[in-house]
Amino acid sequence: MAFKAALLMLLVALLLSASVAYLLYARGVFERTQKLVLLSDDSEGVVVGMDMTFSGFALGRVNRVELSPDGNVRILVDVPRRDAHWLRQSSVFTMERGLVGGTRIRAFSGVLTDPPLPDGAERRVLRGDATAEVPRLLNAARDLLANLQAMTAADSALNTSLAHVQDVTGRLKGPQGALGLLLGNEADARKLIATLDRTNALLARLDGLAAKADTQVFGDQGVMPETRATVVQLNGLLADARASLKKVDAVLQEAQTIAVNTREGTADLAALRAEAESSLRKVEHLVNQINRKWPFARDTEIKLP
């Protein structure tokens, strides 16, 4: 009995020891880890012991959550060294809160050839909160429902328009049809139909007129052959006019030559005039001198006979 009891106690002790060892292993006590510090402005939903996942696999475990002196949240994550190669310097970390379930921290490594993330690296975590969108969504939905209610109300514009459309389709189906709808009453519709009849008669007459006009214009004695002959004559006249113009052109050239000569002659006349003026000034000067020297001629008054 004592042996059995001792064996039982030994087995229970072994079981308890194994359980404690398993729990320590499950808590990651025997793992070699490196630190990763995630910075965020809100730690809501982040609890010690929660996982950080990479492609759905648990890659690290939140070891501590603390406030930094500048008011930011520092989430200290223990990443096992054997899994740390999945985290690179270009890795991005996100923290999401779904409508159901807790907060999830996820890592994304786009370029796996980048240098590995060093121990104690600090990275800012990008936050996405589905519940934060709910109030905005509710407001939008409320506005939408209010608009819908306004649209579908009994006195709404949409309802009135639909009633008008129904009225219109009813009148379209009526005896007057679309014309009655467009003109409003039967008398006007009749007038329109009478106008159309008269227009048809007018068109028939216009057709006869057009046939006659065709004969008058394009017939043997019509306008068009006469016009063609007139054009031929006009061509001849234009040729004569062109010859006359050439002659006029020659005359003009001669006139231009004469004008040039005249301009030159005018320039000579100016020189001649200048000389004549100079001679006159000299004569005047001479007369003045004679007058000063001539003692008798003091009486300047001219007496006409």
Partner: protein, 284 residues
Amino acid sequence: MWPGRWRRVIPGGFPRRYHDRMNPVTSPQGWPGRVRRRVRRAWGMLHTSALVLALLLSPSSYRRENRATLARHVYLGTAPLLPWFTVLVALASLVVIRIVVVTAASYGLSQYALEMVVRVLVLELIPLTAALFVAVRCTLPAGVELVALRGRGGFEALRARGVDPLVTEVVPRVLAGLFAVVTLAAVSCVVSLVLAYLVVHGLTHAAFDSYTRKVGQVFNPAVTLIFSLKTVFFSLAVSLIPMVSSLHDPGSGKVQALPELQGLVRMFLLILLIEVASLMGNYY
């Protein structure tokens, strides 16, 4: 039956009997006397419990001459219960695990099923079940044995031979209860964890790492401490209270309820308090 309870007091008059044929013996002090008596009794039980605990922790209780008795009680208190209890717990766990997993899957919450199974089964149900099972199958019958032994004058005979009946008769039974609760709880927890893994993942070792991670998340230091303390307190409650109640059987001519029934009520009350305290510690 306590005749005092059936007394009717007429204001300004004398107390009279409820019925003429009833025994008119009443407590002269009224309810303050009853309260005082109960407090004295509770204090006596606490004192005896402390004495038994001190003897449990004392190396002198494990002397060579006592070892055979200790081993016999420990083995007979645990070994016959272990297979049946393990089988029962395995079946019940299988049903609960299946229900939780299927329900969680139908709501698209499979990722939380395992955590819920571990929390509900391992942390809450199994220690409580183990304690109650040991109480019903081991410690309450042991308390009845003690009452019978006392009734036969066994305690006086032992004392006459210079043997302390607390050491030779009470401590082995309490130790057997403690060991049985811890053993049954530990074995059943391990069985439930293995069954949960098999039901969720099947016969493969590929999911062992993720399963271990989940278990590690549930068993954080605070939860583990509360779980351990709860199991220990459960085992103390179901082991000590029946023995101490049997030692405090008044048996002085008054008509009393059976001591094992009183012990059962006290034990249930204490287990309830421990469970409430552990729930508050875990979830508040």
